[in-house]
Symmetry: C2
Subunit: 117 residues, 2 copies
Amino acid sequence: MSKQALPLMDPVCCAPLAQEPIGAEDAAVLAKAFKAVGDPIRLRLLSLIASRDGETCVCDLTGPFEVSGPTISHHLKVLREAGLIDCERRGTWVYYWSRPEALQRLSAILGQQVTRV
Amino acid sequence: MSKQALPLMDPVCCAPLAQEPIGAEDAAVLAKAFKAVGDPIRLRLLSLIASRDGETCVCDLTGPFEVSGPTISHHLKVLREAGLIDCERRGTWVYYWSRPEALQRLSAILGQQVTRV
């Protein structure tokens, strides 16, 4: 499966949103990532994956949710396309891991607000 | 207009998502906030408001976008209901300001990933 870095991974993107107005192109990329975590199930999936040490088998991700396997797969795909997780198929199962650098980037864009309070 | 703090503002909510799995209730609240910034126009509006010193007149928020005034108003309402901005009507215009503590909270939930790289 693709491990291609999304534009979000571009180290020059982006300054904290409270530092200067975000441009339209950057906003489009970032909004996609924020929209990915803008769903309760995806947020919980991301948290489950990110809070594990190492990889998480997809077989361990369906249990906590009252939705179908294909729905979980769809949500995982959205998270992956947003650059927040990545995965690899090995044998029967797909294994997922988070991309901390992407989460950190999103965190930094929302953060650094303290001095403006 | 309401200045009621949303559950997001609860200081006990929430641990960084990579620290422990987010619960369903917290995920619902947080996902609403992330969804609010999961739209390019809303993200740019938030950035415009947050990057200003002090308040921003709604009259200064419609110019940069090729969408109608009512559409801008709708997006501002979504941001306000998510607890990310607040506003006050004075005379003809409504004035908006960001809520840095809410942005900082969202930032903290996504952040603190570095030690897990």
